[in-house]
């Protein structure tokens, strides 16, 4: 537990944590407020109604969540890679190992701290998004009566949990890539390339891509036809290649998560630490 708590403290104080959440929520707020502000000037009533979807509850919940899970996946890969890569680049893993710490335990608990930070980051961004949507609704004179829609609020926890699990898997992927590369920059670069590479590959190999980590992450949150539809249609990897069954996708997310961690821990355990 000492290492886990220490990992959390290190992540809370780390600029990358603040920048990641700041960027994600900043973009979300910007889109919501901008949409609300210009919706009145949309040419046709249909275009105006579509623009206002983002600030109309309860649908806004799903759109905000899908935005967070979509872009959050890319940010999670980068974040996971930055944390793992810096342990090698800064030589701090060396310090822990030379003090007799178990390599696997250290890395596993460091990742556990990352997964908690992912949950906190997603939760924070979601709350900021909802507050921004309420503000947007006020600007656009849209009623907020749907805020307390029981059906939507009832399924949000499950969607959120699935989303957190999916984004954690994406962070694990970045974590593993950076561990293999022993570098922050190489890990981040390879993680981004993987993210967009998967999108690109969807055009040619949809039957394979649907089993790949970003595609299964998106498919795993598709439980009720709301956030699911938005997430899968959000343009991210796997948008056109989905397993269809969210529960099968969730199992595959688990497989990718465990697989990524096994690779990262196995490599760390056997690696010769020269930096």
């Amino acid at each position: 537990m000492r290492i886990f708590r220490s990992g959390l403290r290190k992540l809370v104080g780390r600029p990358a944590s603040i920048v990641t959440v700041g960027l994600l929520s900043g973009l979300l707020v910007l889109i919501i407020v901008a949409t609300a502000a210009v919706s009145q000037r949309s040419g046709t009533p249909r275009a105006q109604a579509e623009a206002l979807l983002l600030v109309t509850f309860p649908g806004a919940y799903d759109i905000i969540l899908s935005f967070i899970l979509g872009l959050g996946g890319l940010f999670a890969v980068i974040y996971g890679a930055a944390i793992a890569g810096s342990e090698w680049g800064w030589g701090t893993l060396k310090n822990a190992v030379a003090r007799g710490e178990s390599r696997s335990r250290y890395m596993l608990l460091s990742f556990a701290a990352i997964s908690v930070m992912v949950a906190v980051g997603l939760g924070l961004t979601f709350v900021i998004g909802v507050v921004a949507a309420i503000a947007g609704a006020t600007i656009a004179n849209v009623p907020t009566t749907g805020l307390s829609d029981a059906a939507t609020l009832g399924r949000l926890p499950e969607e959120f949990l699935r989303g957190w699990f999916a984004v954690t898997e994406e962070a694990a992927l970045g974590f593993a890539i950076a561990t293999l590369a022993r570098s922050q920059l190489a890990g981040i670069g390879a993680g981004i390339a993987f993210y967009f590479g998967e999108t690109f590959a969807t055009l040619f190999l949809p039957d394979i891509v649907k089993y790949l980590p970003f595609a299964v992450a998106r498919a795993s949150v598709a439980i009720s036809g709301s956030a699911a539809a938005a997430a899968n249609g959000g343009g991210g990897p796997g948008a056109a290649a989905s397993l269809g069954d969210a529960n099968t996708a969730l199992v595959l997310v688990g497989v990718w998560l465990v697989g990524s961690l096994v690779v990262a821990l196995g490599f760390t355990e056997r690696a010769e630490i020269t930096g």
Partner: protein, 327 residues
């Protein structure tokens, strides 16, 4: 060294390590007695840091064995390191955290560390006033001091320090030396790798010299220096044979080859194995033979011993050495 295994804080036997085709360690046998400051000397690329990494489990040996504090140390014996403190190469920290936070987070790894230990160590290394500052703003010397504090976190029985004087100012070097001597006086063992011969000469009780991945000499500093006492005289090359004959009754003598790229000139150095107090005798013997030395040196410093044992030249496959400007 002839210390019995039970009195050794650290021992290696036949330690081997390769990096691809390059042999970093070629059967290293170290014997570090308990309660001493051990100076581990060697030129760049001789294998000092590789040895330190092997001793802390960062690398795994290709062959050979390690004993830490009287017990075997291999893969899976990481808990043995709970009693070991180490500073290997440059100190490594989270740049965005303060000095205190870095020590606190490091204390979360390995063996348990008392809560008050971090502040005690910050005081010891003179960083208490800067403890809240981010490490990214620290100078090299401050990072080095923090690294020494990190090595001392678990109040280790065996302390492994790789070039600990790097970046320290003269006052810092003196303070570090006193701290390490104090630790040794309390029964702890301090293993210091360095290429600063003067520093090791004033700090170490026992010295090991490594070259090309092998231990070429090991023993108490006193014994090693006594065995290497020499008087050197510079005489005309034409008179060298006569000079050797004149001084041989005082001690074995031989002509020294030109150092490095030094051109062969009209004079050369003779090396007479004799204690410094016999330098005047050597001079008198030469004068008696009608040979007048243009220079005379005597001494038994570690530098002479080091250069003699390591050749003072880059070793095959090593990092090389600074060549200097030769007119």
């Amino acid at each position: 060294m002839t210390a019995s295994p039970s009195t050794l804080a650290l021992a290696t036997r036949g330690l081997r390590k390769r990096y691809g085709a390059r042999v970093a360690l070629d059967g290293l046998d170290l014997s570090v007695p308990t309660g001493v400051v051990y100076g581990f000397l060697g030129p760049n690329g001789a294998g000092k840091t590789t040895t330190m990494r092997l001793l802390t489990g960062l690398l795994h040996p290709d062959a050979g064995s390690i004993e830490l504090l009287g017990r075997p140390f291999a893969r899976g014996d990481r808990r043995r390191l709970f009693e070991v403190g180490a500073l290997i190469e440059s100190p490594s920290f989270y740049p965005y955290l303060s000095g205190r936070s870095n020590l606190r987070e490091l204390a979360a790894t390995g063996g348990p560390v008392p809560r008050t230990r971090v502040d005690e160590l910050l005081e010891l290394v003179g960083l208490r006033d800067r403890a809240k500052d981010k490490v990214s703003g620290y100078s090299l010397g401050m990072k080095q001091r923090l690294g020494i504090a990190a090595a001392l976190l678990s109040d280790p029985t065996l302390l492994l320090l790789d070039e600990p004087a790097n970046g320290l100012d003269p006052a810092g070097i003196v303070a570090m030396r006193e701290t390490l001597r104090h630790l040794a006086s309390t029964g702890k063992t301090v293993f210091v790798s360095s290429h600063l011969l003067g520093e090791v000469q004033v700090l170490a009780d026992v010295v090991g010299i490594i070259a090309s991945g092998r231990l070429v000499r090991e023993g108490s500093l006193e014994t090693l220096l006594a065995s290497e006492a020499v008087v050197r005289v510079r005489v005309p090359r034409a008179d060298s044979e006569a000079a050797i004959a004149a001084v041989t009754p005082i001690g074995p003598a031989a002509a020294m080859p030109p150092a490095g790229n030094e051109p062969v000139g009209a004079e050369l150095w003779l090396r007479v194995q004799a204690t410094p107090d016999r330098a005047s005798e050597v001079n008198r013997a030469l004068a008696g033979a009608g040979i007048f030395a243009s220079a005379l040196e005597s001494g038994s410093d570690l530098e002479n011993l080091f250069l003699e044992l390591t050749g003072g030249e880059p070793l095959p496959g090593s990092e090389g050495t600074f060549q200097g400007i030769r007119p």
